[in-house]
């Protein structure tokens, strides 16, 4: 257990080195947040409620999703694919600790830092310039839990996709495609509430809503009381499912390594 903590800490530290890239990242997120807000203002015009969301909701929604992009809901990292390409993965898998556990702690460390620094600063910009909502404690605590759960979920999904590269030759464009689909159905590109019925039905069946949409809706107060517990359960359900699949894939990959020798 201590080992994984160390790995997470080291990832945490490593992420602080690229200072200018970090600031650039925050500004990038803020930039997108800004322009999407203007788009919603233009759409809402004089106001009103659309599919249960007011303009203020939409603005808060946008800033939340942008703040969470590096925490869970955005680009999947292709770090694992890189190690597959270089062959390093053979070494990594031979180590005395869990391969999945290693990458999970590492990813968790990076995401946690992103949450504390990048996410918070990005959201702060939204609060200052667009009056994005500041949550109450009752909303914030479950929100935080949901975000932490979504980190694990997002990582597991990314893990599975990365590992598929083990069996295919060039996976990066496929990763990008899957990533886009994930972002679409997670509610990152637009609130799931706006989806037309058939798409909304599909979204409900997929794990991605548990990555972005659920935590954000909790924050907005659209999910309250018991419904919050339900969404935790939903998140946990998907976590268990995806982690199991991840471990299965990991085992299959190890077997392939042993047989083929990398």
């Amino acid at each position: 257990m201590r080992l994984y903590f160390e790995i997470g800490l080291r990832a945490f530290r490593r992420a602080t080195i690229y200072r200018s890239a970090y600031i650039a990242g925050i500004l990038t997120n803020a930039f997108f947040g800004t322009l999407i807000c203007f788009m919603y203002q233009a759409l809402y015009g004089s106001g009103g409620n659309v599919a249960g969301m007011s303009l203020h909701d939409a603005i808060t929604y946008v800033w939340l999703t942008q703040s969470l992009i590096s925490v869970g809901g955005g680009w999947m990292s292709t770090d694992i694919i890189q190690t597959i390409r270089t062959g390093e993965i053979a070494n990594d898998m031979a180590r005395p600790w869990s391969f999945f556990g290693y990458w999970l702690s590492r990813s968790f460390g990076e995401r946690l830092l992103n949450l504390i620094l990048r996410g918070t600063l990005t959201y702060l910009i939204g609060v200052l310039y667009f009056r994005a909502a500041i949550p109450s404690l009752e909303q914030f605590t479950p929100f935080l839990i949901a975000v932490l759960l979504s980190m694990v979920l997002s990582f597991s999904f990314g893990f599975i996709i990365n590992m598929i590269a083990f069996w295919t030759i060039d996976a990066t464009s496929m990763v990008w495609l899957v990533n886009t689909i994930m972002m679409f159905f997670s509610g990152f590109l637009l609130p799931l509430a706006f989806f037309p019925a058939p798409l909304a039905a599909i979204a409900r069946l997929l794990p991605f809503q548990a990555i972005t949409s659920l935590p954000v809706l909790i924050f907005l107060g659209k999910i309250e009381d018991i419904a919050i517990l339900n969404s935790f359960l939903l998140q946990l359900f998907w976590i268990v499912l995806l982690v199991s699949v991840s471990l299965m894939i990991q085992r299959a990959a190890m077997r392939k390594l042993v047989i083929q020798g990398g």
Partner: protein, 333 residues
């Protein structure tokens, strides 16, 4: 005027400090301090056309930095560099047209294309007249035996093949100066030998000036009459290889295989001038100071005690020489 003139050239880099400790990570995020690294510190030397010089030193000594300044990639912090009457970084394109560079670690060729196509692209880039290009290509193909893999994509070549191709590529446009950065690294003995022979021929037949950076001291021994030794950015030695060996390679070794058994006091016996004796079975290594005695005299003494079956005389290895210079502190030449 010499072909290459380097006068009091220095290059200083600013490197960001890494903070240690618990909050080091957060601190480096908030504030930054820099320290100065003197990669090259007032180095001076001159090279005439047609020389083949070895430029050696440990890792981080400043070799690559100097080469980069000579090729025009890097601008010196201070000092003066003139190559063929030009300041390299100021007239980059004109300067670079006349030089060839081979990086041992990276290829200059187009990865996905057959070797010959890289050569063709280079013909257009360097505007080499077709006849001359053809001539060079045929010559190099011949000596370096490029024929078998001329039509193989570069990414499929072995290290040795790729190195030969890179060498040919660097010379197609008849450069005056050839810069080689670790050209034999990772190669097997046969491949190394082939490359060394090629370099000797180029230097001799075409008068191409060659500057060779290498860790393989055998390259130096085989190819260079002159050696420039650099460490921590400072020039430590510049002169003939022979003299380097004479001054810092005083120790030679006579290796003796004896015929029959050892007398009792074999271990204690040490002739005059001998620094150390090593023994493995029937073989003795007598290391001696070349100023204290001669190989002939020593062999004579040994022959009086033992029946010699076979013998050789070993010259000091450059590694030993280099180590001795370092151990004796910085050396003024």
């Amino acid at each position: 005027m010499a072909l290459i003139e380097v006068e009091n050239v220095a290059k200083t880099f600013r490197v960001a400090k890494r903070y240690e400790g618990r909050f080091g990570a957060i601190r480096s995020l908030l504030a930054r301090e820099y320290r100065e690294v003197h990669a090259v510190d007032k180095v001076s030397f001159q090279l005439e056309a047609g020389e083949m010089v070895g430029y050696i030193g440990p890792n981080g000594a400043g070799k690559s930095t100097t080469i980069k300044m000579l090729t025009g990639i890097l601008v010196p912090s201070s000092g003066r560099i003139m190559v063929a009457g030009r300041v390299p970084y100021q007239e980059r394109v004109a300067h670079v047209r006349k030089i060839g560079v081979v990086f041992g670690q990276r290829s200059q060729l187009w990865w996905d294309l057959p070797t010959i196509e890289s050569f063709e692209l280079l013909r257009h880039i360097y505007k080499i007249p077709f006849e001359r290009w053809r001539e060079n290509l045929d010559t190099f193909s011949d000596i370096l035996e490029l024929g078998p893999f001329l039509h193989t994509p570069v990414r499929q070549l072995s290290l040795g093949q790729r190195m030969r191709a890179d060498l040919a590529a660097a010379l197609l446009h008849d450069p005056n100066i050839l810069f080689l950065d670790e050209p034999t690294i990772g190669l097997d003995v046969v491949a190394k030998d082939r490359i060394r022979q090629f370099l000797q021929r180029i230097n001799k037949e075409r008068g191409t000036t060659v500057i060779l950076t290498t860790h393989d001291l055998e390259d130096i021994e085989r190819l260079c009459q002159r050696v420039i030794l650099i460490d921590h950015g400072t020039l430590i030695y510049d002169g003939a290889l022979e003299e380097l060996r004479n001054r810092f390679g005083r120790e030679r070794t006579v290796v003796i295989d004896i015929e029959n058994g050892l007398p009792e006091n074999a271990h204690d016996w040490r002739p005059i001038g001998v620094n150390s004796v090593r023994r493995e079975g029937r073989r003795f290594w007598f290391s001696f100071d070349r100023h204290a005695t001669t190989a002939a005299a020593l062999i004579g003494e040994i022959a009086q005690r033992y029946q010699i079956r076979d013998l050789t005389v070993e010259e000091p290895k450059i590694e030993t020489i280099v180590r001795q210079i370092y151990e004796s502190g910085s050396v003024t030449v």
